[in-house]
Amino acid sequence: MLVPLSWLKEYVDINVSPEVLEEKLFSCGFEVEERYQVGKDISGIVVGLVESCDPIEGTHLSLCMVNAGSYGTFQVCCGADNVRAGGKFPLALVGAQVYATAKDHVTVEGLMEIKAGKLRGYDSFGMLCSGTELGLSEDLYPGAGYNGLLVLPEDAEPGADVKEITGLNDWIYDVSITANRPDAMSIFGIAREVAAVLSAPLHAPDLSYTEKLSKTDVTGQGLEVSVAAPDLCPRYIGHYVYDVKIAESPAWMKRRLALVGCSAISNIVDITNYVLKELGQPMHAFDEAFLSQSRIEVRRAREGEPIVTLDEKEFKLNDQNLVICDGEKPVALAGIMGGLNSEIRDTTTGVVFEAAKFARDNVRKTSRALGQASDSSAVFSKGVNEYTTVMAMKRALHLVEELQCGTVSSTHVDVNTGNSVEPRDLTVSVKRVNGVLGITVPDEEIVSILNRLDMQPELSGDTLKLRIPAYREDMEAYQDVAEEVIRMYGYDHVQPTFMPTASVTSGGRSAHQKALLRLRQALAAAGAYEAIHYSFFSPADFDLLMLPQDAPERKAIRILNPINEDLSLMRTTLAPQMLYAIQRNQKRGNIEGRLFEIGKVFLPKELPLADYPEERETLCIGLFGNEESFYTLKGFADTVADTYGVTFRYEAAEATYLHPYQTAAVLLNGEKIGVLGKVKYEIADELVLRTPAYILELDLSPLSKYDSSIKKYRPLPKFDVEKRDFAFVLDQGVSCEQVEEAISGACPYITSVRLFDVYEGANLPKGKKSMAFSVVFTPEDHAFTEQEMVGFTDAVLRDLQEKVGAVLRS
């Protein structure tokens, strides 16, 4: 919110520098996002008295001698039509900075520095300036809109600073207001805070006016107001003004509106905007002549009811929208914008002012639904209080009199739901206030602070009685009082303590959290980098994985208001984002690498959601590069198993996005918990992958029961283990697992079976392969004799022959 320092000073005497004021606002909860001088871009402009002015023949230029007081007298060439001897104009000295304008002298095209120069052979030391060149508009300074020199007052001293004369030295504070303080969303609201924080007196705006004739006296018809939707409009005040003379507003009002970014329109409309900025209460003015039956009815719109707003946009409404109607039709979209049909015109002679409170949620929703917003709707959405609603109407009527643009009638209609605008009582314990802060603020400080905030404190013992102003709807309990006290007393008074009264607790990671940390560390130690991807993804990601239309993965939760379609579904698999991560890396020249992600997939029990969905912890690993293979990825799977102290089984399997013959299911206790394999060539081609990629996706939830499995020491064998190598010839169709199982089953002392060579080709019959295994026999209670070992190996050979048709390779 923009707050001009000059405007603020109308309500409070500010005797600190603009910088200190910024710090004070910051310290009491109003962060100044930006503080700037109105004329921040221009410099070096002084009052110049043109002492002589001679036309340069054959040109439109005049050669002037300009007296700039203590700066000296300068020869300046000037092309403006209103330059004249004896006139006082802004002189930009050599070295000054002003706005550069286009040929039309109106359009600003950046900034320029004034240099000594020559025009048509005449030296010129400076430039006489227009209002535009100083950044002034007609609203900011009368006469500044003229396309020629800006005329300065007769009494301006040559050499004096033009910024001071024209108000360009004013400061603007862009203040950020937190959502709990809608009462501070105005110049006067900020003034109340400034007065409190500076301990300076507050001067309230003049609310006085005199009521004259009634509307019936004037028009023969009274004003009738009814509110059919009090839930959406707890208060509606209407007041009739007659003998209206539409004209321009006075310079001071136009200037203030311009400083806060509001263009002046006409006195009546400007009054509503002025009150909005000054007090934070949106107002509206209807041309009474266009209010059918002199009636105002506040009601929900009918289905399909049309309205054309002031900016000539048409909307079709529904019963979620609140409208202000006359005897026949909607004349305003409540709290958002007036209707075109009842707007103030040059011919308007009678006006009904509206000051109301509309439900913030309804204004916000209607504004969003229709895509129509205004300064009013922004304020209503934050919330207004009825105290200010009442005050604002008085202020508007006062301004009507002050501007002499109409006569205030005695016709005042106030429809309300009985909310009080009187201060309310709040009694709190000082001990509890201090208890929140952890320090003891001196009683007299507490009383002084709350006095400055107009809360009329009365302290007796521990009991603090307050009268909370009606505009402070946020004040409810001792915690709120504590906040008021400390933000004025200063947060730097809070002393750091370390929970002296709290219980001792032992905390730390749960077994599950520890297990996940171990898993992450194990995967990192194995060479993979952890990735984090969004929890949402694109419907197109299912197609990337070539999933059929009825695939369970496609049953995903939809975000109702996604940023875009690509981020519109809660993910049911981590694979697509891993594939894209691999693609991104390869595009950027990282053609090999290892990534893993531990994240959740979201599995709805039913759609639409009626209950929390399952958020299943899932691991995804992506390997890519020419050195990687199905087996390097399988090594990662085994790392996972080792981390939890379990053993995985693998069996050939299929997945829509993986190689039909290089894919395995991961089994834990016979149950499938994941899949791993080489990414299909079709997908690799689509993603333009330069090296092979491998993906593993694993459900971690079944592993959680092994979170706290503590590995125990197994004593080392007392007797030397025996190691024997076997090379078998078998059918190509026999799997490694089948052979391993046959070997392991052949002798109870076998503790390890490890494949170390596979061979197919020359020297072997067609359809056969050779596999070589290293087998370890571990004795239990005595060292194996040579005979025993012969028996064991014979058993292995016999079983292998029987079970998988293997013969020892000769």
């Binding site: 969004y534 975000i559 958020e615």
Partner: protein, 347 residues
């Protein structure tokens, strides 16, 4: 004496022969072979000398034995010396043959790493675990009630505008803040409560400093006599552990519906030590988190007696901490999984 002379001569010539032959040998294998032959009991130049003892007159036996032993010892020594010299030579040659270019690149050890946000999360968890905090992880999909209503943010509350929320249904949404976990914890557990709750949160924002998903960590303490001073004391401790000793905090008023009073917490700029630099935009302070004294309405909603208990809560964006600590200039870098980014930081 004639015989002695002869013996003397023989021994001298043996010495000369052995010395000469040995000198010509250039490898230890041949030294070994030659030594074997010289000391051979039957045929060896020296080894066979003792066989002559029988022929030596009795009175000369002692002298003969002494001389033979002398030459034996001399020969042993000579062979040992030769061996040593040869070994040295061979080692020298071997070493020389294995000369490498030490400036050639190292063989890298393959290793990966945790995500920077995980690193920050782990560091914070370690700090808070040491202070007796439990770690609670809520769900990413949350009910409107837990994310807003129970946190004193009813449906028409303007604070809802502060956060653009992703809705999944009228009832379910993607949590916008890990504060949602506070309520679950307080519903399940009675004070004393000391938890932190790290997790992913979601807001409909997407630019260089905002990501629609980011990571937050909520902290909550509810116990007897907890004050704003306790919040400051704890934060002072934490920021020193994260950003280094001497880092201080500054509280300034702010607003969150679920705390009262609410504060924004700034840390003194750890880069310029408060002198003003680009990191702190010249102010000497960096905004890092929001916090406050838990609003009584929130506690009462969870059935906690506010006459006995009070608490504080804070919420911190972990990507922000990672960005400040490790110097990332764009939050998106953290979600792109670019190995050139992920492999840089190890903390």
């Amino acid at each position: 004496m004639a015989e002695s002379n002869t013996l003397q001569e023989r021994l001298t010539s043996i010495r000369a022969e052995v010395r000469e032959k040995l000198q010509a040998i250039m490898d230890s294998r041949s030294v070994y072979e030659y030594r074997k032959s010289v000391f051979d009991g039957k045929t060896g130049l020296i080894g066979s000398l003792m066989r002559e003892m029988g022929k030596i007159p009795k009175e000369e036996k002692a002298e003969f034995g002494k001389r033979v032993n002398e030459i034996k010892n001399w020969a042993q020594e000579l062979f040992d010396e030769k061996n040593t010299a040869l070994k040295e030579l061979e080692m020298k040659k071997r070493y020389e043959s294995e000369r490498i270019d030490v400036t050639m690149p190292a063989v890298k050890h393959v290793h990966g790493n945790l995500h920077p946000v995980t690193m920050v999360t782990n560091q914070l968890i370690d700090i808070f675990a040491g202070l007796g905090f439990d770690i609670y992880e809520g769900t990413e999909i949350e009910k409107d009630y837990y994310n807003f209503t129970a946190l004193n943010t009813p449906a028409d509350h303007p604070a809802r505008d502060m956060q653009d929320t992703f809705y999944l249904s009228p009832e379910f949404l993607l949590r916008t803040q890990t504060s949602a976990g506070q309520i679950h914890v307080m519903e399940e557990k009675k004070p004393p409560i000391k938890i932190i709750s790290p997790g992913k949160v979601f807001r409909s924002d997407d630019d260089a400093t905002h990501s629609p998903m980011f990571t937050q960590m909520e902290g909550l303490v509810v116990d007897k006599g907890i004050t704003l001073g306790d919040l400051k004391g704890m934060l002072d401790e934490i920021v020193q552990k994260i950003f280094g000793e001497g880092t201080t905090t500054r509280l300034r008023p702010s607003y969150f519906p679920f705390t009262e009073p609410s504060v924004e917490v700034d840390v003194s700029c750890f880069q310029c030590k408060g002198c003003g630099c680009s990191l702190c935009k010249g102010t000497g302070w960096i905004e890092i988190l929001g916090a406050g004294v838990v609003n009584n309405k929130v506690l009462e909603g969870c059935g906690i007696d506010t006459d006995v208990y009070s608490g504080f809560a804070f919420g911190v964006g972990l990507e922000r901490i990672a960005m400040l600590k490790y110097g990332y200039n764009n939050i998106k870098l953290l979600f792109e999984s670019d190995l050139r980014v992920l492999s840089q930081i190890d903390d």
